[in-house]
Amino acid sequence: MAVSLFAQEAEAPPEKDIRPVRNTFESIWLGDNQTVEVPIKGTFEWDILHRFGSTKTNGFDDFWGLFASSNLRLGFNYVPVEKLQIGFGVTKENLLWDFNAKYAILRQGRSGGSPLTVTYFGNLAIDTRSEGKYFNYPEYEFSDRVSYFNQLMIARKITRSLSLQAAFNLSHFNYVGTGAYNDQNEWVNNQNTNHFSTTFLGRYKITEGLGVFASYDLPLTDHPITDPKPNLNLGIELVSSSHAFHIFVGNYYSIVPQVNNARNLNEDLLIGFNMTRLWNF
């Protein structure tokens, strides 16, 4: 009898560790995309994001786009309560001001609990260019400047090195700009106000501080006239205790996600840099 009890004890499964996995990704950004990561409460982050010109247009003459006109976003984020990050940023292209929030709905456990991390990201962006020059049509309203982005991200840290993420995205523009008459002489807008898309990304860590990543953003909505182009990212991630740095190539020139997802017409590759700095309070 005693032997049998010992056998049962020896076969008892190890205790499940439901603590959240550490760092499914090393930063809230990975190239052009958000990740499921929400830093710990009290974290303040400063983002400096650059997108350069086409590598194809002028070649060596503008050093494959690095010396061409670039796009820049300065962003600031804070985590006031556990699992919730809020932030804002200003982008050179269209003088966009964006206000965003990110919430970790579920977090993958280390060896038990949820098998996945699920995070929501949403933003509201305002085009602040001058009314007379860019919004000079009679029916103009302030709400025409506003666009939105909603994203549900699902990720899993597969191994200590490999993490994968899929996301479903909805971009919405209050104003979709120009259009044309169709064959039936009816006016149609270039695009619908809503645009659905999906994102897949993965990162593989080569060392603790160095990783490689790839992502693909695929438009799903068919628009009446202008369909946006997909985006491929290939890049390198360097991280330290307080910084993350990405250098990558991709097709997106804009940085605010709804503009990228719904309005990207660029098919050339361009170089991008992301730099983030974290402070803990």
């Binding site: 710990i40 009290g42 200590r160 060392t207 603790e208 330290s240 205790s241 309070f281």
Partner: protein, 137 residues
């Protein structure tokens, strides 16, 4: 022109020497530990699997740039510090109780930052200290 170049070279040399004299490192003052850190024990058993995985990962991310890959105090940022970072491989350092290493590594003081926010999980903190223990010569 030649005189001007010489003058610039002399001024630069003086500034370089002055800057290096000003940043010469001093040994850290003795640590003062709260009473609970004198008796605090690691929650991990020796040889716990997390020491060489989580502990090593976190050490390399947060500590290596100053303390070096083997804890010798020869990381690339170490030379810019006012205080010598010490050598984790020495018998004197390794003789310190767990709680003192916890206080020095996680709570910090002066140039040694606090890592309570960056390493929020208690078991992960002990994994880092466990990894530092493996640096004993």
């Amino acid at each position: 022109m030649k005189k001007l170049a010489c003058l610039v070279a002399v001024v630069c040399t003086v500034f370089f020497l002055a800057a290096n004299v000003a940043t010469a490192q001093k040994p850290g003052a003795p640590w003062v530990f709260p009473p609970k850190h004198k008796t605090m024990k690691s929650t991990l058993k020796a040889g716990d699997a997390s020491i060489n995985t989580t502990g090593k990962e976190l050490y390399n991310k947060h500590c290596k740039s100053c303390h070096g890959a083997k804890g010798l105090g020869d990381g690339p940022k170490a030379a810019n510090l006012k205080t010598n970072t010490g050598d984790f491989s020495t018998a004197k350092f390794q003789a310190r109780p767990d709680g003192e290493l916890y206080f020095m590594s996680i709570i910090g003081r002066d140039e040694m930052p606090n890592y309570e926010k960056k390493i929020p999980d208690e078991a992960d903190r002990w994994a880092v200290i466990g990894y530092i223990r493996t640096m004993k010569k």
